[in-house]
Symmetry: C2
Subunit: 427 residues, 2 copies
């Protein structure tokens, strides 16, 4: 076709100094790959044994709907898909219209679009400490500062938010743009926000003119107890922007999710959706699968499966890691363990990895770093998060055993450190 051009290697280096601030701030080294044969307690993967059979849905999407599914799709999503989401959320107490729904490539993409809509560099947001791990680098990439607040058994600490706001006002600073939270089976703590706390939170947001970003991927994965109303359903003044996903309802690989927000917000987010329309093929596959109650049926299967997995893991922890404290979550994917204070979760996670089980240390879930607000939390060192959705029941037993072995290996050392501290104090 054309003759060879021999590129001359010169001494010129690609100028990485041209990276944006967000790219420069990224961690320098890639995160360590986990061992290929490790038991994975670190993921949000589905249990492979219950992945749905989507072959028929795909076949219909690619034949009956071929000229829809293989062409560019509308940026806000397929209208039928948006209407399906309306029905689905209506059954959950929210009253919205299809114009208030934007289809996305999963919930994280929804959070990103909310950030694109609301955040300028230097803006702040409120997050719980600890909070959803993966949301942190996303918020950071928008140059956001963090106000970290704690939680109790009823959920996010409203008083702490009020205090922070008062402090910001006093010092003449801008209020946070939004409060980000996972109100149902919080990731990582498993806490579900009480009804009165939800009402107080929505009222607070409205009073101060701050949005709430409600991220509730596990809401339908409830094993027991009463469902609390979604924040969106008690929000009469459109201060709640909610994100949802089929990752936990059907399968993560689909990458289909949504955002619910006021119409004008959705219109703008669609314009800011710079990758164009989300795949119409995946949306149509989901729609075809959902016909005749497919999603409800699969949700029931997920609930009963993960219920058993949770019970298995709780039993294993009580048996092999008896010193760990936990509040057994009523749903979701995770156990949050609080270990004796002298245990360093980072070290425990590293040693567990050496023993062939991957877990996240509690410290990974704190925004930290930012010291410009009075209430920022110092990561607690003595927590770990265990996922029970992905592993088989037998792997759950074996994984907890391996963590217990790692725990035993560092526990004496911690004892020694305590003894030493005691000796110093007594001297």
């Amino acid at each position: 076709m054309y003759g060879p051009i021999i590129p001359q290697k010169t001494s010129v280096k690609t100028p990485t100094s041209l990276f944006s601030r967000r790219a420069t701030a990224l961690p320098a080294a890639p995160s360590e790959p986990k061992g290929a044969h490790a038991i994975a307690f670190d993921s949000g993967h589905a249990f492979p044994g219950i992945l749905p059979d989507m072959t028929e849905a795909a076949e219909r999407a690619l034949t009956q709907y071929r000229s829809e599914t293989l062409q560019y799709g509308a940026r806000p999503g397929l209208m039928e898909m948006r209407e399906w989401v309306v029905q689905y959320l209506e059954a959950d107490g929210a009253r919205i219209s299809a114009q208030e729904v934007l289809m996305t490539n999963g919930a994280k993409h929804g959070i990103e679009l909310i950030c694109r809509l609301l955040l300028d560099e230097g803006d702040t947001i409120v997050v719980t400490a600890p909070t959803y791990l993966t949301s942190l680098p996303l918020f950071r990439s928008f140059g956001a500062g963090f106000i970290e607040v704690g939680q109790d058994d009823e959920g996010i600490d409203i008083d702490a938010i009020e205090e922070s706001i008062a402090w910001l006002k006093q010092s003449g600073r801008k209020l946070p743009k939004f409060i980000y939270d996972v109100p149902d089976f919080h990731n990582p703590t498993g806490i579900t926000m009480s009804r009165r706390r939800r009402q107080a939170l929505v009222e607070l947001a409205m009073r101060h003119g701050i949005f709430i970003v409600e991220d509730s991927p596990y809401r339908q994965i409830r094993f027991e107890g009463e469902t609390e109303p979604s924040l969106k359903s008690i929000d009469s003044n459109e201060f709640v922007l909610s994100v949802g996903t089929f990752s936990k309802l059907l399968a993560p690989g689909l990458r289909v999710g949504w955002v619910v927000a006021p119409r004008d917000f959705i219109r703008r987010m669609a314009l800011l959706k710079s990758d164009g329309g989300s795949s119409p093929l995946l949306q149509r596959m989901v729609l075809e699968f959902c016909k005749d109650g497919g999603v409800d049926q699969h949700t029931r299967l997920a609930r009963s499966t993960y219920h058993k997995h949770r019970d298995r893991m709780v039993r294993a922890v009580r048996r092999d890691l008896a010193e760990a404290e936990m509040t057994v979550p009523h749903g979701g994917y995770y156990l949050w363990l609080t270990l004796p204070q002298h245990i360093d979760g980072d070290e425990l996670a590293q040693r567990a990895m050496d023993n062939g089980v991957s877990i996240y240390p509690g410290s990974a879930f704190y925004a930290g770093q930012n010291d410009s607000y009075p209430r920022n939390k110092v990561p607690l060192k003595n927590n770990i998060r265990l996922n029970y959705s992905h592993a088989t029941p037998d792997e759950i037993d074996e994984g907890v055993r391996r963590i217990a072995a790692a725990y035993d290996a560092i526990s004496p050392k911690a004892d020694a450190a305590r003894d030493k501290a005691w000796a110093v104090r007594s001297a």
Copy 2:
């Protein structure tokens, strides 16, 4: 489940004043929907008659690969997919490794990730005037300023870039971060950059430490003439970041594309890929379809189909819009028409729409607005862009006839304005 909460509507308004600068800058009104029965000369859709049959690929992806395709995928993409891209680009003269490939949700997503990697608010980039319509709001959403340069038959105006750079240096300003261009069958002008211009461009970029973003979705859709080397293939020092897509090779609805860049760039872009891994299901479907030469076979079909479409449209324009000038493109999807100077492309597009055919006026392809650089281009008013990929051959004839009718309707008015101007000048 829980009792009803009666939301009390108050007078509080959702504070749209909290929007980010990028969201505030968006156009206030939604763009007008085109008539449902209009002949579409405005899209980049595939011809429905050649959409590939992907049912078998989907079936295999959802059965043999179920536990890969329905789970979360790695952020950089499936390794097998990245290796496929390496092979594909190697056949096109580029020597890269899989670590230099990032899978994306289409080429626009690739451009977005490059922006996330490189652009801070207020940075500038070089674009051609006119340039790819859809890239403009994307660049704007990152707060980029534009340096617009023209093109001649050989492609982008290198001297104009040099002049702008000299001017920037003289006035103590930062150099642009990258030069964005569509070197093959440029969108909208159809120009393909000559080989010597390509070499000069890559040398310029290296000399000044500026990146080039090579966006070449139509490269394989060549009807005649010699392929020029890709910018990536003549770039020995990694100043070229290239984006690719299966949208034009297979089908737009798949939303599978890629970026090629140095390893460290890819690693960082993967971290900035805040929607997580692109759908492994779609990637595996593409891989399965590509086995046994599926993509080459489909590309041949697309070439011969669009070749006929182009010929049909060129004939129709010569017959019915004889006053339009054009350089017949050797490939791609678009005809760029230059009409007599007194014709207003915006008005013509509006009237064509009224006649039932949707086209883009030339003015839509200019960054414009920004007056802080000396060379920014005033949009030329007398151009329109016609797409020939989507419509049937008969619709192509009918669509051009309708445009010609719209043209005839405004042409006398333009004559009258010219006469009036002449009368004033003579007075």
